[in-house]
Subunit: 146 residues, 2 copies
């Protein structure tokens, strides 16, 4: 666990990328979010389908369902970085108001897979989710807090 | 993308580990599943809480809710392996019968984070999920297929 005990330059670069992505999400800047990843990133998103193929257009459409800026903060972030491959996991807190007036205050799990490219570290895989209640209701557990 | 275009020895070792894990899950062998990962693995599971701290005991408890063996197969598996860090993502198909009689046929998304250890590649992070319908019902999307 050397790279965890002694944060490397890569660890710092990846945390910088994750922070830039969080700020871009909060500012609803789809192009800046996209710039954190590759165009062929495989995304498992909060909403269907199983594999998200919406890309920037999908993100812009999703941003349009929110009134004003979003709150988007991460905690318990762990970065595991090798020379050319890394992954990150943590908990995300999404807050805001949908255009139809619903107030959202949601905690979810986030995992990112990254590769070092000629343009620096880039996200090539995203996995965002909440668990679900296995009590027969199959309700998404949108009411959990860390 | 060299390591994707030319499958490495690491790629093969990791695919072997993933296959061993799938077989152990199908056979409801909690010790064998646990042997694929580290004891401090951070798991984001299908069921609450946000972060699963159940370990082997939790897995044994979950296995006990199923009648007979489980069906557990992966598809669209992608392995991104560096020298010491790797991640894997793909779609999992879980089938079986719960002890109370409910038949389960569920597709979900799986992401694994791995590190090379003295004992070979081990899973240090798991993220399993289905998306949920953002139509106000907040139903888990347990009815999706790839």
């Amino acid at each position: 666990m050397t790279q965890l005990a002694t944060p490397s330059r890569d660890d710092a670069a990846i945390r910088g990328l994750i922070l830039a992505r969080s700020r871009a999400l909060g500012a609803k800047d789809a192009a800046a979010v996209a710039d954190c990843g590759t165009s062929d990133a495989v995304c498992y998103s909060l909403a269907p389908p199983l594999v998200d193929t919406g890309g920037v257009k999908g993100l812009e459409g999703w941003f349009a369902t929110w009134e004003g800026p979003l709150g988007y903060e991460l905690r318990d972030v762990s970065v595991v970085a090798g020379a050319d491959v890394a992954f990150v996991h943590g908990l995300a807190h999404l807050t805001g108001r949908k255009v139809e007036g619903v107030v959202v205050d949601l905690w979810f799990r986030l995992t990112l897979g990254l590769k070092r490219t000629a343009a620096g570290w880039k996200i090539v895989h995203e996995h965002e989710s909440v668990p679900f209640y296995m009590d027969g209701s199959f309700r998404a557990a949108v009411d959990l807090t860390p």
